[in-house]
Symmetry: C3
Subunit: 330 residues, 3 copies
């Protein structure tokens, strides 16, 4: 993996890495291990299969449509398909129509990634990021009639916390071990996983690819946790990591990936991260009657605003950043 390899497997693994902005096959490999670990915990392997299937279909669609472009080789046309497959397999029980939906959704996610790159990235400098995933997964879930609570089998309802004082409403603050679980679940939920161990594996993968990105992810998780506790959000949702996954992505994107890190950018990213927690609360309220999951929509909305405003507020920084030189993000 030293000399830049461009075989399909490596390109797919880079696609997995790009969910957390990492153009790294090793990170992508660890992310898939994290998903598999959660499947092992829940004995629900369709989520891992769906993620891999979506990743492969989206990557092959990109290679067919776009065979020689650097962006495809960087994995930028794979991660939205992977998340689409993962989300569909999380909310829909295994069936032929699930696999058809994943194949169709992943292929269309590649087209949507191209559309977002052409409209948002080329002239505006706004990365499409997981926007295509949110759009396509919502449409496929609604189209398949999966409007309601998730496929129960894929959710671990907080095992081992039957006697939590925090969940029971007795203590306003979780116990130390619960705080640690929330910290890692905030990261794991980017992949719709409830396993704290999976979150730790993911963070390890980010560390291997970029220690600064890992610091941002950890800081985002901590800030989100503190906000959710101070603002007294619903304890069950806090414990499941559902207030933290979008802020983790916001902290990484605004603090490290799409702006050049500085004290001023760190303050800007902190504002964005806190805003993402509140936008998550808003989407929880607004999406509940529709019956669709929020996915990473709060991250996408807040990141688009904060990155779109970059030319106004961070003129000296320049339009490109070192991390995504070969990407439609640049």
């Amino acid at each position: 993996m030293k000399a830049k390899s461009n075989d399909v497997v490596t390109v797919c693994l880079r696609g997995a890495g790009q969910v957390f902005f990492m153009e790294s096959a090793l990170a992508g490999c660890l992310f898939i291990v994290a998903i598999a670990y959660a499947s092992h915990e829940t004995a629900q392997w369709s989520t891992t299969a769906g993620a891999v299937f979506g990743l492969v279909v989206a990557t092959l669609a990109a290679l067919w449509l776009n065979h020689d472009q650097a962006a495809t080789r960087s994995g930028l046309y794979g991660f939205n398909g992977m998340l689409t497959g993962l989300a569909l397999a999380t909310f829909v029980a295994p069936s032929p129509s699930l696999w058809f939906s994943i194949a169709l959704g992943a292929a269309v996610s590649t087209v949507a990634t191209g559309a977002f790159a052409a409209v948002l990235t080329k002239t505006r400098g706004i990365p499409g990021s997981t926007g295509p995933f949110v759009l396509i997964a919502w449409l496929m879930l609604a189209g398949i009639g999966a409007v309601g609570p998730p496929n129960a089998a894929s959710v671990v309802l907080l095992p081992g916390h039957p006697a939590s004082a925090y969940l029971g409403g007795v203590a306003p603050i979780p116990a130390a071990d619960e705080l640690l679980q929330i910290f890692f679940r905030n990261i794991a939920q980017v992949f719709l996983l409830e396993s704290a161990v999976s979150g730790a594996i993911i963070l390890l993968g980010i560390v291997f690819a970029s220690w600064r990105a890992a610091v941002a992810a950890a800081a985002g998780s901590a800030v989100a946790m503190i906000c959710a506790l101070v603002l007294q959000m619903d304890p069950v949702m806090v414990m499941r990591g559902l207030y933290g996954f979008s802020p983790v992505l916001t902290a990484m994107a605004v603090g490290v990936v799409f702006l050049r890190t500085s004290v001023r950018v760190a303050a800007y990213a902190l504002l964005a991260t806190v805003a993402t927690v509140c936008v998550q609360a808003a989407f929880n309220v607004l999406m509940a009657p529709i019956g669709l999951p929020v996915l990473t929509a709060p991250y996408v909305l807040v990141m688009y605003l904060f990155v779109a405003a970059k030319p106004i507020f961070f003129l000296a920084v320049g339009g490109t950043d070192s991390m995504h030189k070969t990407s439609p993000h640049a």
Copy 2:
């Protein structure tokens, strides 16, 4: 009609033709005949009157605002007003407020068409197409309080099929004559018509203007029908042609009108057409609680994505196409 005539009537007829992308007064004439035929079948003439009134108001508004531009003469400022008039008259019973709504909606549709041309077409190369119609018709219908099932009188509830095995849930596949009806209704429903004969007249109009566009329309209708049957969509909606009209437009737009036809483009259009069927299913679910009709929103969304991605995936094709040289689509 040999020498390019620019009197108001011809411009209006071209506007009718543009609903199916045809800059042809003859095609537009046949489309109006198709609408009139459906009015004759249902004895509900307000739909034909609404379509013509909307077409005339929108065209006059464009001539006032935009008097000498080629796009107006091509009919590109008429079709959204025509569809707005048709949709309002389909869902609202005749009354003074219906005609006021059509006049206002058609005039505003011209402004919206200009806005979409300025924002989407000029720099992005994305045609506004029926996007302004969907936006304005939704707002006018909600504003007039027409949130609910359509004006019953304008809908033929599948006459002559009381004993259908398919509709009765006994057979998974419609009979041969039913398949033919679905094939033509898929085309007729672009104008919100349930008459298969109207669909045949419309297809005839397209053939006169462009045989390639007619092949794409027919292929789109067939693909949509097959998808809807394989995916086991609701038989009543399939029979009424409600899963087919957006895919017909998608197949024409992506396969012939806005990209240069090739094997690769045909595969791209096939993907888009199948995706439109699923997006139609999604909008059916998402719009039901709001009580507004889906209109051509699934086509608009899918076409925007697939055409927006054109510069990424079809670089060699170039930005313009022969069919819309004088249009804001170019």
Copy 3:
């Protein structure tokens, strides 16, 4: 105030003035007086406090992010924060979380104003205007769980009209004094105020800054009133001024501020103003199940369409206008 002063207080007052497009600290001062007058009437001072707090936070955030730009000094980064603070304090009872929401929402409104300026204004010439306010206020209200009827104490339920023949459904037209009240409430409701006296104070402030803008505001209020009566909108909402505030802004924006006034532009603005009344009716219907207030969304949508179409329909007018030379509107 003769020599252009740039101290924070003056910049804040200009921000207040910009709610009605006036880069005038004197106008801004009178607008705050109008808000205070309504607080005096209702004995609910949290609205005034919220407006001022939001204005200050948004302006300070802009000075921090954007310290030397002309747009900030013109007050263009203040008005969205002011409206956010006012709206939150109108719909949420005073509490620590109200003030936290206002601070966060106002700071984020500054970022959103920058994002809208970069995406809409720079290349499209479409002003962001109150778009950021609508977006952020909706998200903060939903996030704080304020989905439902407004904080009762801040609403005067039409004092002194217990025996109105119009409200009672007996007369189709309000009495002369009621018409006058509606005329001024249509202006006051831009600040979510129900006081006719506040509306008069606001109109006075506009007169001081620009008599043409004041004529447009008055005409917009009158047109909206006539439309709402002719279209027989709900009498209670008409009396409260809820059909008029968005049209007032549309008339000013399309007729005077963003296009160069002429007979043709006046007709264009009239169409836009009438359309805004209908779009207000549509949003009333569409937002009711969500439980969020409509705010100035109808103005924002209609104005974006009519100003976006400017390069298509008003080529000779040019891209800039004299009123906003130093603004992101230009």
